[in-house]
Structure formats: C-alpha cells, structure tokens
Point group: C2
Chain length 244, copies 2
DNA sequence: GAGTGGTCTAGACCACCAA
DNA sequence: TGGTGGTCTAGACCACTCA
C-alpha cells in the first residue's frame, strides 16, 4: 500500500520490517521454537505487501534468527532441536565419528564483574555476574574446560541444577528457562600451553598445547550476553571452520 | 516468459540460472574483476524475467562469487582489491593494529601427489603437484609458516618469481595469472607443539604451542584446488571467527 | 481442501553512477 | 541523460503439510 520508500528516514521498507520483527522477538512476543504469524498476516499488520515481508523474513532466516518450513509456517530458531543443538560447537573428532557428550559442572558462583568483563558484556564495573566452570567430555575423555560468565540480572534464579538439566547445552537452557536466544558469537582462537590446574582437569601433561577459544555471544540486536573461555585438547579433535 | 516451473527437471528456475552463470564463470567467459552482463541482458539471454535473474545473482553475491555495485553493474568477485585481498586470512594482532605483511619464499618444488594428498585435491595418486613453502611475517616478526600444495596441471609455468610478485597473496596470483578464483575453503584447527624445524624458522622455542591450520580451498563448483598447512605463532595474534 | 511458504512474472519508481 | 542495480507492489500458480 505504501508506494514510495518512506521519505523521512531513508531506509528500505524491508529493513524497517526487519527491525520491527526483531523488536517483537526481543519483547518476547514469540519465543524460541514458536511460530510467528504468516507472511500475509505480517503484511497486513505492517501495511506492506507480502513480498516486502518476504524479503525481511528471508534475511532473518539467512541470519539463523528465523526458520522457514514450507507448508507450515515460519518459526523462531532455537538451539533445542537435535540438528541445531550444538550449532556453536565446532569441535569434532578427527575421525569424524559421532560421540557421546558428557557435562561435568565444576563451579557455579555469584560474583562482581571486573572492568574488563563489564566492557565485554556491556555492563557496569562491579555488576552482578554468574560464573560457571565445567568440563565437557567426549566419549568419557575430558576435552573442553569451560569458564563461562553471564550477567546475573537476566538470569535470575540460575543455579547448578538448571545447568545440569539441559544435557550440557547452556544455550538450550538460556532459551527454555529465560527465553533468551543467542544469535551470533565472536571467537578468538589461540594456541597456549596447559597450566597446572587445566592440565590436571583435562588429564594431560603440563605444557600440552591447548586450543584456547574466547567467545562473546550475543542475543537479538547484537546485545552481548555471555562471555566464555574454552580450553580444548586437540589431540584427537579439531575445530572445523568454513570460509566463504 | 516461462510461466510454469519447468516440468522435466524440477529445480527452481533461478537455481538453473545460477548453474548457468557458474558455468560461464568456470569457462572463463568473465574473469575475476570484470563486469558480467546487466540483469536485463541476462534475463533476455536466459528467457526469464529480470526478477528471476535477480534472485540468482543475489545468491551468488551472498556467496561472495559476484559483487553488485549500484549504478554500475555486477562484477566477478576478486581477491585483488585492498578490501578483499586477505579475505581468508583470519589472523589479526591481539591489539587490533594494522600490520605490514612480508612474504619470504622458502621453497618451490615440483613433485608427485601422495595418496592422501590426491584424495584431498581430487587427483590421481602420483599426479604432478607444485609444493610451496613460505614464511609470513607481520611487522618483521615471523608469524605463519605455510606449506602449500596445488595441482601442477592448471598452474602451468608457475614459479617462485610469480609468487613473489603478488605481495604474498597466492589467491591474488592464481586469479591474475591463471583466472582461477577460490570461492570457498574449509579449515581444521588444532594446537600443536613446535618441532625443531618450525621453531627455528618461526624464531620460537621448540615446544612452543602453535596454531595448526589445515585448509582446502575450492574454486567454482566446489572443486578443490589448493591444500595448505599453516603453523601460526599466536603469542601476539589470534584467529578471529564469527559464528552465526 | 484450506493454509502456508516458494517461485515467477510484470511493471513502476527510486538511488546511484558516468558521460 | 541513460543505464544500472535496488525497492516495492500485485497477482498468479506451485509444492508442501495437516486436518
């Protein structure tokens, strides 16, 4: 119905629709795993043509924020399903075999954000945080030692048992317990030598080369919500990456 | 003009157009950096509407195979321009500063593919290959020790001086000298300890943890064309990655 | 069969670029 | 000023899912 691109703010209509849909996701109007309204309904709601909604949804689907299912509808993407559960876990066995993943919780404490951590997570220095340490094992062998920090405010009441429930997927837990979905993450990888504490937990010799993965994960609107440091034994595993 | 999806092979028209465009790229009809025909011309050539061509080109642009420039035309993507030159190089300084990159050629030999290498590159065991070893330095400090293997057939006449010419970018050289563009790559990362030879060349102590990057790069049609093993000192650098 | 997303078309107008 | 890609619309028909 709106024939010309809106003159005041010159951004394409479909980008404005994208923003509106994202805002509804932030507001929790549709939770992870739920269906959003059909293209026709959205078109009516935003007073644009179906094609414009389609382009907005196409891009959100390309960003793994929505999932289209032909004949059924468009859904809010989730880390819960088998296929997408470990989407951010790039570590696989060298021989490509599928492995059983075990999760051992080591610590779960409250604390205050350091200046550096506050900067990473967009908080104020000294803000309340939750700190988790855990050990992930593949087929019984320790492989990843994780140190995870999240702001306490959005994750009220989080404790060790909630983490244990979701068979090791923190992202799955964030979604089902708090409706918070991580849509993007940035990682920095380095090779380091295992120190005494890490070596003992991972069952390797001190000085063993480890892959150090530092990750900041963001929810809708690129808002950082989790900082994570993983130390990985890469003797029998490697980190897969695709460049395009 | 074609109102119904073609009945014999049921694939969307725009996918067929994508294939046709890709074939022209393989055939070298348009070389890296050149403009391809306008959307209207392509639509006429393939006897479809402009919108269908647009969708095909959109996807090829999303895959970094084509580049659209509003008001000018659509171009074959390249590794030559400043912005895209080091697209596959994910290593950056820890402090984010820009650095001067130097390239020191160590070896450039002909050889025969081992069974494993032949498998990786889609060749027959014993096929002729070219083997390159080089050292990349950032601001004078050695950082990456590369071992590169490519099939000899498509790269006739390649030698050390051609590698030196393109200020260290092999991909740039492949394009300008042979019209072969790498569009995709798959990497496997591990942490290993520096052996004697690597340690000496990289100027670190034996046993220093190194980031080991194994990469297979593919040209149009996902045809593998280069295998590469990089050993990286990550004391002052890290490998950046974005997960979506 | 009704409803959803998926494809294709045709035509209008806008923004950008170069001559 | 003319050509290019970019946006938006409207309508037709196809493919898939489910009741």
């Amino acid at each position: 119905m709106n024939n010309a691109p809106a003159s005041p703010s010159f951004r394409p209509l479909y980008e404005q629709i994208k923003v509106l849909i994202t805002q509804s996701l932030i507001a929790g109007e549709w939770r992870p795993g739920e269906a959003i309204p059909s293209e026709m309904e959205l078109a009516a709601r935003f007073k644009v043509s179906q094609g414009t909604v389609r382009k907005a949804v196409d891009e959100l689907a390309a960003e793994n924020i929505l999932v289209r299912r032909q004949g059924k509808g468009t859904y809010v993407a989730t880390h819960n399903e088998e296929h997408t559960k470990l989407r951010f876990l790039r570590l696989t066995a060298a021989d490509g075999k599928k492995e059983l993943l075990e999760n051992q919780l080591l610590e779960c404490n409250r604390g205050k954000a350091t200046a550096e951590m506050a900067r990473q997570l967009g908080l104020k220095t000294g803000a309340s945080i939750i700190e988790v340490k855990r050990l992930l094992s593949f087929s019984g062998k320790p492989v990843i030692l994780d140190h995870i920090i999240i702001p306490a405010a959005p994750f009220k009441g989080l404790n060790g048992s909630k983490i244990q429930d979701n068979n090791g997927s923190m992202y799955s837990m964030y979604e089902t317990q708090y409706g918070i979905r991580m849509v993007r993450a940035e990682e920095r990888l380095k090779a380091i030598a295992a120190d005494e504490a890490s070596a003992q937990l991972l069952g390797v010799a001190v000085g063993t080369p480890l892959l150090r993965i530092e990750r900041v994960s963001c929810t809708y609107g690129d808002k950082p919500m989790e900082w994570r440091l993983g130390l990985c034994v890469t003797e029998e595993h490697h980190y897969r990456n695709e460049l395009e």
